[in-house]
Symmetry: C2
């Protein structure tokens, strides 16, 4: 029986493990089938994690975390969790892909989210080297330069507005000439002097060299005309998958409340609607999707889990 | 006219400044009359800020933050803010103690809080070297050792329960034999085998040497009997002052909603009830009072301020 199962090994999961074990919880396991570190390990440059003033790769940023966070007894199990459930009135069940089941008094789910790929040539090759899915993270690297934003939803246009504060020009590249984004957001983007719309186009490829992206080639859907934008940065916002699969029950419902996007509803203490179940990092509603925010969430959730488990012990509920 | 005024220069304020300037806001000033760094600079040992795996002093932990956070244009003004107000429909007014006034489109308030002193001999001398006001921060340094908790409120007993997970014994030292804490919390503490109540006593002094605390001397209020507890750690929870003075208006009301303890009410995006005014770190409701959480709040609030200011520009409100 675990005091706490942590699902996911990014900044939120690692920090939750550090705080939970340092706070006295025993048998705390972090389930992460790959190496710990999270999505940030795919970034080539990070300069906004406070306390690390050098510009470092995401991999380097996270290199010291596992040792620090596991020093107090956190165990890392390289296993895939397929489902977290809770039989009525009992402890949580953590089902692994090999068919085994562990029980836990409390659970913190921090499995993050995955930006969708647009599917053009060069997208994977240049990811983290000119192709980005995070304006807050990477926009500054293109200060006073031109960038392209791919997408037509709210996120794409809001991120374009964010980038317009920093970059000299922002091309919004969209395959249609209508936008899913809220009309007021479209209006603000249209009225922004730094934003130029390039619509009814398909992205052919992002091209570059060993140093990174040098441009993006588009094709007009009607005329077939090729448009070349020689931009060093391409931001892709064509959707986002919240990694909430482990919370999905056999009947298709979720173990706790999620919003219309599948993000887990939490309060300021990272408590979900299910007692003893916490969420932290990019999986939760309103996540700023920043390493320092995810880590803060993890600490916050762990402090809640410690109090919850202490309470359980007194009540002999589990 | 500032895009953003940040009131307070701890982890929340510094991180807010980093994110705001890196996100393109201009004229961003952090008001902190002393050196930046915040309350954590009074701690002698920190080992739970993720990414800094060495055990460092709070001063060393924060040493690199100002340079990193000010690299993108954040200005530090060593001035004391006496009040933030907002004349109807206009921008914020930031009043300084020298009588000057600055205007700002948005404000992030992160002035933290101050644990109250119990007032015994040795309390200041050994603060950060055995006397602590944070169980989450410092409890682990007394693993399998005995500690004393001073206080009789909810925080004191909840922190005692937290410490009981880690320490071999927790003395709860209280000057009365009745507790302000919720009866259910008192009951849980009484039933905890590691917690021993020492009531109706006054704290005479905390004593020790250059290495830190060696014990605490108490005096029975009725008999005058002296009790010596040879503990290396003393946790003081006798109240907490939220540093919300800058939000207090001339008529005694607050600029935004605060709760019964004076903590600023925020949502998950650190927005207060006043549009364009954000709160971050220990001043807000439900603050976990951890450096990483305060820093996460600061990033979160800055992202909100950037969006708010961008929106203002379009609407020409300010």
């Amino acid at each position: 029986m675990l005091d706490l199962a942590i699902i996911g090994g990014g900044p939120a999961g690692l920090t939750a493990g550090l705080y939970a074990t340092r706070g006295g919880l025993e048998n705390v396991v972090m389930y992460e089938k790959g190496m710990p570190g999270g999505a940030i390990t795919q970034s080539s440059e990070v300069e906004n994690y406070p306390g690390i003033k050098e510009v470092v790769s995401g991999m380097d940023l996270m290199a010291s975390w596992p040792e620090q966070c596991m020093r107090f007894g956190l165990k890392h199990e390289m296993a895939e969790v397929v489902r977290v459930s809770r039989p009525e009135g009992l402890c949580f069940k953590v089902e692994l892909s090999d068919g085994s089941v562990e029980t836990a008094k409390s659970v913190i789910v921090c499995t993050g989210g995955t930006p969708r790929k647009a599917g053009f040539k060069g997208e994977e090759e240049f990811f983290g080297r000119g192709v980005s899915t995070c304006a807050t993270c990477d926009g500054f690297f293109y200060r006073d330069k031109e960038v392209a934003v791919i997408g037509g939803g709210d996120t794409a246009l809001e991120e374009a507005l964010y980038l317009a504060n920093i970059c000299s020009k922002v091309y919004v590249v969209h395959r249609r000439d209508e936008f899913r984004a809220a009309p007021s957001t479209v209006k603000r983007a249209r009225e922004n002097g730094k934003i130029e719309f390039v619509t009814n186009v398909l992205v052919e490829e992002v091209y570059g060299d060993a140093m990174g992206v040098q441009g993006i080639r588009l094709k007009k859907k009607d005329s077939g005309e090729v448009i070349d934008l020689p931009v060093p940065g391409v931001f892709v916002f064509v959707g986002y998958d919240v990694n909430n699969r482990v919370l999905k029950q056999e009947d298709g419902s979720f173990l706790c409340d999620v919003n219309e996007y599948g993000e887990v509803v939490v309060d300021l203490q990272m408590r979900t609607s299910e007692q003893g179940l916490f969420a932290a990092g990019d999986i939760r509603i309103m996540a700023p999707k920043q390493v320092v925010c995810a880590a803060g969430d993890g600490a916050n959730a762990a402090i809640g889990a410690i109090a919850y488990v202490e309470h359980l012990h007194r009540e002999n509920l589990c």
